[in-house]
């Protein structure tokens, strides 16, 4: 997957690049509007991560340029929390989604994959991990040929896990993904635990392998290793 990251904060740019590269994505970077416009005119991307406030201009120009060029590219706005207007404007002129700083990296990955999948016409909509096949927007999962139904939260969790394979996922990041701002109300870690227990059981009962590994004290890792 080809990604363009447009972000003027070097340290953030480098960690995003490292993290994304670590998941097997190919990343180009741009620190200025000019560089970003040059990159999109020369390359095709599956997804562009776009910071709106750039030193030499407004990131909206990138969205406008993309509208003229190519509709297969997903655009994910990275915005500051207090610039709601930027987010709304961005969505209105053609961005697909936004994520606010500071964000969890696995969350970023999940958003990128979801945006890219929505945009792409060629790629199959199903999420596949070895024998597991997950159909987005349908509360079902296939283990080989066997179909099993999932609750809404189990489905969301499964999508999140399949989108972030081989990564350590903290309980906090998972909780925030599943419950947003409500995550800190109570016992959300217990819920994650019981959701994961149920998922494991369902998958194993259908003859699947246990890919969800606990990382003691920290969270979980979805891996075939």
């Amino acid at each position: 997957m080809n990604i363009l990251i447009v972000e003027d904060e070097k340290a953030l740019l480098s960690s995003m690049t490292d993290y994304l590269t670590g998941t097997g994505m190919h990343c180009d970077t741009a620190e200025t509007l000019e560089a970003a416009l040059l990159q999109i005119s020369n390359n095709d991307y599956d997804c562009i991560l776009l910071d709106i406030g750039l030193p030499d201009g407004n990131g909206f120009k990138v969205i406008e340029a993309m509208q003229e060029k190519d509709h297969a590219t997903g655009i994910l706005i990275i915005s500051a929390r207090n610039s709601l207007d930027d987010r709304l404007t961005g969505l209105n002129i053609g961005a697909d989604d936004y994520i606010t700083k500071p964000f969890h990296m696995p969350e970023l990955i999940a958003r990128i994959k979801s945006v890219a999948r929505r945009r792409s016409s060629t790629e199959r909509k199903a999420l596949i991990f070895h024998e597991i096949k997950l159909i987005p927007d349908e509360m079902v999962m296939y283990i080989g040929e066997k179909m099993l139904s999932l609750t809404k939260k189990e489905h969301e969790l499964m999508v999140y896990l399949i989108n972030n394979p081989n990564r350590v996922l903290t309980k906090e990041a998972i909780a925030e993904h599943l419950w947003g701002d409500h995550a800190d109300i109570a016992d959300s870690f217990d819920f994650i635990y019981s959701h994961i227990k149920n998922l494991r059981k369902k998958i194993i009962d259908c003859g699947g392998k246990d890919y969800i590994k606990s990382v003691y004290g920290v969270g979980y890792k979805f891996t075939a290793e």
Binding site: A11, S15, K101, P102, H104, M105, E172, D184, I185, D187
Partner: protein
């Protein structure tokens, strides 16, 4: 009590007391004067009687009376120089009633003969005079006092008007709405000085408030990127294959702290955004539907704590406000009621035509009731940042919703009343 009424009341009390005292004094004084005058008059009559007896021989050695007032009778022997003076009541034929008299009786030797002479003088007229004078005095004095009272009222209220205007202006003083105060110039130097000081003071308050707001705003804005960097670096670090478990836990603990900071940051940003009126878009939000949907989202949390939930939702209650803020208001109230509930406790959500009440079981607060809406006043929940209710309060203030809290019958009750002008059903 108003200053004007207080001074007026003081004046009136003093004036009436003085009036009472002086009218009593006046009455006694008049009585005394008339009294001496009457006695003097009788002494003069006494002298005239003697002179008449000496001058007219036919009056000598006989008893006679002049009118009702003077009676002279000869007596055998002169026995005393004493002059008897007494006040008495007598029947008067002309007046057909009892009339007070003063009677002077004495014995006297005139040209060698002894006489007993009585002189009497009516006192009625004197009494009438006393009461007439006193009443006249009272009427005049009351007139004067009343005049002064009304004049004083009139002048005082015109003198104090700038003061009351200034007070009004101060009452309307609202930091969140620009914090403007306007005073009108007065002829009274003290008021002008007071106004000047008040203007200085409010300007200072305003600038302090602005600075504080700017600081919070900048601080929360500027920390977002560093927080994003720290978090991304740590999450990256977490993915390293060669971390030992204890190192991993340390990274995780640091991430956890970053999460807390992030939440705090978000809360503060939201508070400043509401304050800066950055959620300007308004629409009619159906509160019942919103509550229902948030309760569904939170169902898992309520179940896990074994809460018994009672909802009474009135139909068709819509409030004109920002949709996002409505969501935050409802969510924060509900999550607060879940978070600080006791295991197996109650959660009651009642939506009425004009208000919303969210109640939950729990132990009484350890802080005073009114401080519950302050920033960073959180209960014993370690995960909580302590901004949820502060945000609720800010949203309510922003829309002039009446927000109150009380604890009774083992329940924490949060009550939000929607003002008429913001409701669809008013």
């Amino acid at each position: 009590m108003k200053l004007l009424n207080l001074t007026n009341r003081f004046y009136i009390i003093v004036a009436l007391t003085l009036l009472l005292v002086s009218s009593v004094f006046l009455a006694y004084r008049v009585i005394y004067l008339i009294d001496t005058e009457t006695t003097e008059h009788m002494l003069y009559t006494k002298l005239r009687v003697e002179q008449q007896i000496i001058a007219q021989p036919q009056l000598q050695k006989v008893a006679f009376t002049i009118g009702d007032n003077i009676r002279v009778e000869p007596i055998n022997r002169f026995s005393t120089f004493k002059v008897q003076l007494r006040d008495t009541i007598r029947y008067d034929e002309y007046e057909e009633g009892l009339i007070p008299f003063r009677e002077m009786t004495y014995e006297q030797q005139i040209l060698g003969e002894a006489y007993r002479i009585s002189i009497s003088q009516r006192l009625t007229q004197n009494n009438d005079l006393v009461s007439g004078l006193t009443i006249t005095f009272l009427l005049v004095a009351i007139d004067i006092i009343a005049c002064f009272y009304f004049l004083n009222r009139y002048f005082s209220s015109s003198i104090w008007r700038p003061f009351y205007k200034a007070l009004d202006s101060l009452k309307k003083f609202d930091l969140q709405r620009g914090g403007k105060v306007r005073f009108e110039p007065s002829r009274v130097d003290e008021f002008n000085a007071l106004n000047e000081e008040l203007i200085k003071l409010t300007e200072k308050v305003n600038s302090d408030y602005r600075n504080l707001k700017e600081f919070t705003e900048n601080m929360s804005h500027e920390t977002q990127t560093p927080l994003a960097i720290i978090r991304s670096k740590l999450e990256l670090l977490l993915q390293s294959d060669n971390l030992r478990p204890e190192q991993m836990e340390q990274v995780h603990a640091t991430l956890d702290a970053i999460n807390r900071l992030t939440k705090m940051n978000r809360g503060l940003i939201m508070l400043t955004r509401i304050e800066n009126d950055q959620y300007a878009e308004e629409e009619l939000v159906e509160i019942g539907a919103l509550l229902q949907s948030r309760l569904e989202d939170l169902e898992l949390f309520m179940q896990s704590r074994g809460l018994s939930v009672e909802t009474v939702l009135a139909q068709d209650v819509s409030v004109r406000m920002n949709k996002y803020l409505a969501d935050i208001l409802v969510s924060n109230l509900l999550s607060n009621a879940i978070k600080y509930n006791r295991e197996g406790g109650k959660l009651i959500v009642s939506l009425f035509a004009d208000s919303l009440m969210v109640s939950n079981s729990g132990t009484p607060l350890s802080i005073p009731d009114h401080r519950i809406f302050e920033r960073f006043k959180r209960g014993d929940s370690p995960d909580s940042v302590g901004l949820g209710l502060a945000i609720v309060k800010r949203i309510c203030d922003h829309y002039h919703f009446f927000l109150s809290y009380r604890y009774d019958e083992d329940l924490h009750r949060f009550y939000v009343q929607f003002p008429k002008e913001r409701r669809n059903n008013a």
